[in-house]
Amino acid sequence: MSEEKQFCTFYLDNHFFGVAVETVQEVFRYQEMTHIPLAPPEIRGLINLRGQVITAIDLRQRLSISKLPEDKLPMNVVVRTGESVVSLLVDAIGDVLEVSEEVYERPPETIPEEVRKLVRGVYKLEGKLLLILDAEKAVNINTSVVEPASI
């Protein structure tokens, strides 16, 4: 029983990532962002996507990977999770891959905590590993200290 799953893939530093293809709304090149003062460093800014205001999240920051060199511009992977639409900034965009469940494995305990939290699993592809990003967790950045107490 080899179930096939589709992932939209992208590169971050030397890692190869994927997100479930059905969560991806679109992919586009670098676009100028509006800086948001006071926002946490993971939030790079706001993007005007055809009249819609979208928050851009720096995935490198989020995964505690070193910053992208100044001369390179990130690309946008727009994901839709629940109600919100968020753009993930990545280094480069790969193909949409169809992978078999047979090569799936849970993320090993040894990878850094920051990464493991956001990775659902690993697909052992030929020559490289595909890390599956948990988009929902990745975009869940809470800027408030605590949820306002319910009264």
Binding site: E32, T34, H35, I36, P37, L38, A39, I43, L46, I47, N48, G51, Q52, V53, I54, T55, I57, E83, S84, V85, V86, V139, N140, I141, N142, T143, S144, V145, V146, P148, A149, S150, I151
Partner: protein, 949 residues
């Protein structure tokens, strides 16, 4: 009697609750009835003021009658029986047989409530609910028989339309009187007050008639279909009922015989055959004809329909039907033609009918002339627009989408306009100007579609005021001005609750008891005035009472007692500022708490809610003279005017509502005018000190411009003024508010974003949030213990925390704003109440919560602790306190806190790092709730009660 014959054949056949078709009918019925009920409340109150006003009475009667008729048809027998007795009582009132007195009014209002209750049950569960209304029915019945000496004939006559449903089947035994072509008296002109009712009736009826035509044709194809028959019957019945009430007797007569025939068809006593169908179609045409006469001339016209009435009457029996069939020409044939072109074909029909009745030529001529007149009138009407065509119902979702699209268009327009100066092409300039104009008009037009008169929510206030004044024994007259003032639908919804609260407050606390008023030399009856008007692109709503006013000294004393302000602050405050303290959280001045309003969570919630929609609320009061509350809200939320400013290289929008004025200081002046008080910059604005905030500092940005000039944007938030120092001021612009993503909700400084003309984004500053963050308005709220503010504070970045420990080496924190006091108790002071440890504290009994036990920290059990003194953190709400027993109080820190780890056990909100130490942030709410479940109930209940209103 109320077991109507209509529903069973629908329900019993189906066996299930209802089929889909019914569901639709029920939804329609619900929407209609809710609207009607609001109107009803208002009417009943009006009526109590003017008991003799037959117009109001008739309007009420009609509403109840409609509800009764419809629910009888759908099969809601309980609802019908309630409406039925109400209707009977109303009909007696209308005919002057009985007088309206307070018990009757109350009973009628109770009936309205009962109906509303049942409607909501129907909406939720599709049945009437299990509440027993027999007592209400009894009361209503008793109230009509108290003066049973009244002539029974009058009542009987009035009830006729109502009872017709039940009577219809019986009438077969004596069809003659019904079908008797008695000369129909020319109808009177319609009363002017009735106009709106008549218009409504027309719209409704036209819709119904179109459906009727279709139904009848369908029915002919499928004569056995009781669903269709039921629907037709209902439509005709509604028309009949309404026109009987408006006084359109001729129309009523025609509808009535039609209804009789339909009743029999539906009950299966008669079969539908072509003559009957034709006669019914003729009836529909006749009704349509009369309606158009009513629309143009406000009377039923002079056409004589007695022949049609006879025909319909004859068709009630099979013998009669045969008779009609043998002389087909007069009734059916012309009618069939008429159907295609009613207005034009009508003349020959009339002539023919007249001929048959051997009228004199003169009379005939006169008739033709009159019909001619009528046709002219009809032409005139075509030039304008018929009532039915002038309004349609539109789904709100569609309007919302339109609104969004228009927002986009506005943005696109702004973008295009920016290119205009560079492109020199004249026709391009002209085109873009045109685009500009059209877009503005479109925006305005679409906005208008979402506008609703404020009267829609005011209509329930007479009821609120009446019930309240009865409950507290006051006399209050409610006056309203500017009911027609319009504002956006979403805003209408949003201000409903705050306004209700204010009105209740004014009745409860504002207006004095009749005795007190008499003492003060005022009229015993207090006046509460609601006034709404447009001003400066905003809607102003004033709630004015002529009551006792607010005593600033009392407020001051109370505020000091509740520690809402410090003595020092109190001394500095003017009367106006003091009065506005009633909006501070945790404040209530009512000496005795009534069940009506005022338990301290009132007015601050009102203000929070109003400010949430970009509005402001202000109070002015003169002791002994009364109080005026002024609420200002924007016309719409989606598009707002804003000032665009720059700071630290970025552009920001400041909503115009918060803007007071702009001040620019150049060169030397700039250096001299900004003074420092203990490091806090201030500016003297016309003699008053204006605290200054530097935007780039607040936003932690680098100052970009080297300009020495200082631009101060004077803003107000929470009734405080402050100056926001920005680097540049651009322009005011209409901006479209776009919400920020979930990830940014926690940033109090911004309320949204907008897309600028160049396609780039700008953040919209949340003036309130900014002011709180910068602590310009925090002086008094810091000490506030109540919920609203503490949650706001929680959402902010910096917090003052109380650090304490339960063991030797642990650290826990709670926001200081939650803490009322820190106390020490002797262990020997602890007493027992049930299984709860309590201490006497400030004349009250305060339960103690052993945090260590609660959090299950372990270690030494609190009882066995050797310390003689216990440290307690007192948490107070609604004048009730709970003491949290801790081991040691460590410190109070002002810290930038970020939750590092989510909660992993009950009672802990999360883990934070304070002073480089891991610290648990306690969830005080849940701890207190756990320890004393009743503690928060009062607040919750009140909040719920407020919501329910």
């Amino acid at each position: 009697m109320s077991d109507e014959p209509v529903a069973p054949d629908l329900n019993s056949d189906e066996g299930s609750e209802e089929d889909d078709g019914m569901g639709e009918i029920i939804n329609e019925f619900l929407v209609e009835s809710y609207e009607n009920l609001d109107q009803l409340d208002q009417n009943l109150i009006d009526l109590e003021q003017n008991p003799g006003d037959t117009n109001i009475l008739s309007s009420i009667f009609r509403t109840i009658h409609t509800i009764k008729g419809t629910c009888g048809f759908i099969g809601f027998t309980k609802l019908e029986s309630v409406a039925h007795v109400g209707e009977s009582l109303l009909s007696k009132l209308r005919d002057g047989v009985l007088d309206l007195d307070p018990p009757r009014t109350s009973a009628l209002l109770a009936m309205v409530d009962a109906i509303r209750q049942m409607l909501s049950c129907i909406e939720a569960d599709r049945n009437e609910g299990s509440v027993d209304y027999s007592e209400l029915v009894e009361t209503l019945t008793r109230l009509q028989s108290e003066e049973s000496s009244a002539e029974p004939t009058t009542t009987a006559k009035v009830e006729e339309p109502a009872l017709a449903v039940e009577e219809a089947p019986k009438q077969e035994e004596q069809p003659a009187p019904e079908a008797d072509p008695e000369p129909i008296k020319p109808s009177a002109e319609i009363d002017e007050d009735m106009e709106p009712i008549v218009d409504e009736f027309l719209v409704e009826s036209y819709e119904n008639l179109d459906k009727l035509d279709k139904d009848l044709i369908e029915l002919e194809q499928d004569p056995g279909n009781t669903d269709i028959l039921g629907s037709i019957f209902r439509t005709i019945h509604t028309i009949k009922g309404t026109c009987g009430f408006i006084g359109l007797h001729k129309l009523e007569k025609v509808a009535h015989v039609g209804e009789n025939l339909l009743g029999k068809l539906r009950d299966g006593e008669l079969a539908l055959n072509p003559p009957r169908t034709s006669a019914l179609l003729a009836m529909v045409d006749a009704i349509r004809q009369m309606l158009s006469c009513i629309e143009s001339d406000r009377n039923e016209g002079d056409v004589d329909y007695s022949q049609l009435v006879v025909t319909l009457g004859k068709l009630l029996t099979d013998d009669g039907a045969k008779e009609v069939a043998t002389q087909p020409a007069p009734a059916t044939a012309p009618v069939a033609e008429k159907k295609e072109e009613p207005a034009v074909e009508e003349k020959p029909v009339v002539a023919e009918k007249k001929d048959r009745r051997q009228s004199s030529p003169a009379e005939q001529a006169q008739h033709v002339a009159k019909t001619g007149d009528k046709r002219a009138a009809a032409d005139r009407r075509n030039e304008t627009r018929s009532v039915a065509d002038s309004s349609i119902r539109v789904d709100v979702d569609i309007l919302d989408r339109l609104m969004n699209l228009v927002g986009e268009l506005v943005l696109a327009r702004n973008q295009i306009l920016q290119f205009v100066p560079t492109g020199a092409d004249a026709s391009f300039i002209a085109t873009s100007q045109h685009l500009n104009l059209v877009t503005s008009e479109l925006q305005e037009g679409v906005m208008k579609t979402r506008m609703q008169p404020i009267g829609n929510i005011w209509s329930k206030f007479p009821r609120v005021v009446r019930d309240l004044s009865m409950a507290v024994g006051k006399k209050i007259r409610l006056e309203m001005e500017g009911k027609e003032t319009e504002l956006d639908k979403t805003l209408i919804e949003a201000i409903k609750d705050p306004l209700t609260h204010i009105v209740r407050n004014s009745c409860d606390h504002g207006i004095e008891s009749p005795e007190k008023r008499a003492e003060a030399g005022k009229d015993e009856e207090g006046v509460l005035l609601l006034r709404a008007f447009h001003e400066g692109g905003q809607v102003n709503i004033e709630i004015v009472d002529d009551g006792g006013g607010i005593d600033p000294e009392k407020i001051k004393a109370k505020a000091l007692e509740k520690e809402v302000i410090t003595q020092e602050q109190a001394d500095r405050m003017g009367d106006r500022e003091l009065v506005n303290l009633i909006f501070a959280a945790g404040f209530s001045t009512a000496e005795k708490v009534t069940n009506v309003s005022g338990r301290g969570v009132g007015m601050d919630v009102v203000r929070t809610n109003i400010e949430k929609i970009g509005g402001t609320v202000d109070i002015q009061s003169r002791k002994g003279k009364g109080t005026t509350l002024r609420v200002k809200i924007p016309l719409t939320l989606a598009i707002i005017p804003a000032l665009i400013i720059t700071s630290g290289g970025g552009r920001y929008a400041i909503p115009q509502v918060n803007l007071l004025e702009l001040v620019r200081l150049d060169g030397e002046e700039a250096k001299k005018s900004v003074e420092q008080i203990q490091g806090a910059p201030v500016y003297r604005l016309r003699g008053n000190l204006l605290p200054l905030i530097y935007l780039h500092e607040e936003l932690e940005l680098e100052k970009k411009s080297e300009d020495d000039a200082i631009n101060i944007v004077v803003l107000h938030a929470d009734d405080r003024q402050f100056g926001l120092v920005v680097e540049g001021i651009s322009d005011t612009e209409e901006i479209v508010v776009k919400p920020l993503g979930e990830q940014l909700k926690g940033l109090a400084a911004f309320s949204g974003a907008t897309i600028m003309g160049d396609g780039k984004l700008a953040l919209i500053l949340d003036v309130m949030g900014l002011a709180q963050k910068a602590r310009v308005i925090a002086e008094h709220s810091e000490k506030t213990l109540a919920v609203a503010h503490s949650t706001q504070a929680l959402a902010g970045d910096r917090q003052t925390l109380l650090i304490f420990g339960l063991e030797e080496d642990d650290r826990m924190a709670i926001p200081l704003s939650e803490v009322a006091r820190l106390e020490e108790f002797k262990r020997s002071d602890v007493e027992q109440s049930g299984d709860q440890d309590v201490v006497q504290y400030r004349g009250e009994i305060m339960p103690l919560v052993y945090l260590r036990k609660y959090l299950d920290v372990g270690g030494v059990s609190p009882e066995a602790d050797s310390n003689e003194l216990m440290q307690a953190v007192v948490f107070t709400r609604n004048e009730r306190s709970v003491g949290l027993v801790v081991r040691r109080i460590i410190d109070i820190v002002d810290e930038n806190i970020t939750v590092k780890r989510g909660a992993n056990r009950a009672g802990v909100l999360g883990t934070i790092v304070v002073q480089d130490r891991v610290t648990d942030l306690l969830d005080i709410e849940s701890i207190v709730k756990e320890a004393d479940p009743s503690f928060l109930i009062e607040t919750t209940e009140l909040a719920l009660a407020e919501e329910a209103n």
